[in-house]
Subunit: 112 residues, 2 copies
DNA sequence: TAAGAACGTGCGTTATAATGAACAAAAGAT
DNA sequence: ATCTTTTGTTCATTATAACGCACGTTCTTA
């Protein structure tokens, strides 16, 4: 279904529904209905708008999930992790700080 | 416009409007309006139907804006970040620990 | 802990996508 | 040449896509 894909890309970009709807110039209430598959037949202009903001090809939203993420790297990351990544990047956490955090945790796990 | 492309593919297949509309299961009156650009915002299900009969990819009918992709640096998932995250997941770092790390860093940045 | 903002959803309304006739013009057949 | 069938169009009607606003909840900020 198309709703799942829209939500997937949206959360991956760390965007809220209000934000996406605002940027795309569509009603957030309708976007909500689309993501929950309460409505499943949007127009091409609607799809173009949100695809434009999400910066993805229109096919990425229309494509049946069969070919979409068979062996896609980003698909390996589950949804919650993607949110965390987006949040991390936006908050200005440096990669170095994160690396330190990683090493510290590895060390901590070893102590058990 | 989309109408020109539909007509182009249809005539190329030697199909009449009545025939295409019939096979696709849509109203020929509406198909007529689409081809003459009296209506320019069909639904994805409509396009899928006729694209299916015409045996063309959906893009072939929408391709007017094929090159609208200029990947956003800030929003897109940074490649190096992805590797770090993958490493984090494999090393068994829990989401909770990562969340705590994020909050701590946000707080730290605020202190300046 | 209270106030305020931002989040997503529910609902009534509007705009328009999509339909099913019936129609005139053109093509094809007898 | 008239009759018949097929073509694409017009028009009134129905279905639903899309909207704006208000509401309850969940984060923030003080």
């Amino acid at each position: 279904m198309i709703g799942a894909r829209v939500r997937q890309f949206r959360t991956a970009r760390g965007l809220t529904m209000s934000e996406l709807a605002d940027r795309a110039g569509v009603a957030k209430s309708y976007l909500s209905a689309i993501e929950r598959d309460l409505q499943t037949n949007p127009s091409i202009q609607f799809i173009e708008k949100i695809a434009n903001v999400l910066d993805v090809d229109i096919n990425a939203l229309l494509k049946d999930e069969a070919a979409t993420n068979s062996s896609d790297e980003t698909a390996a990351l589950d949804e919650e992790w993607q949110k965390l990544i987006a949040e991390a990047m936006e908050s200005g956490v440096s990669k170095e700080e994160f690396k330190d955090f990683l090493e510290y945790n590895k060390w901590k796990l070893k102590q058990k």
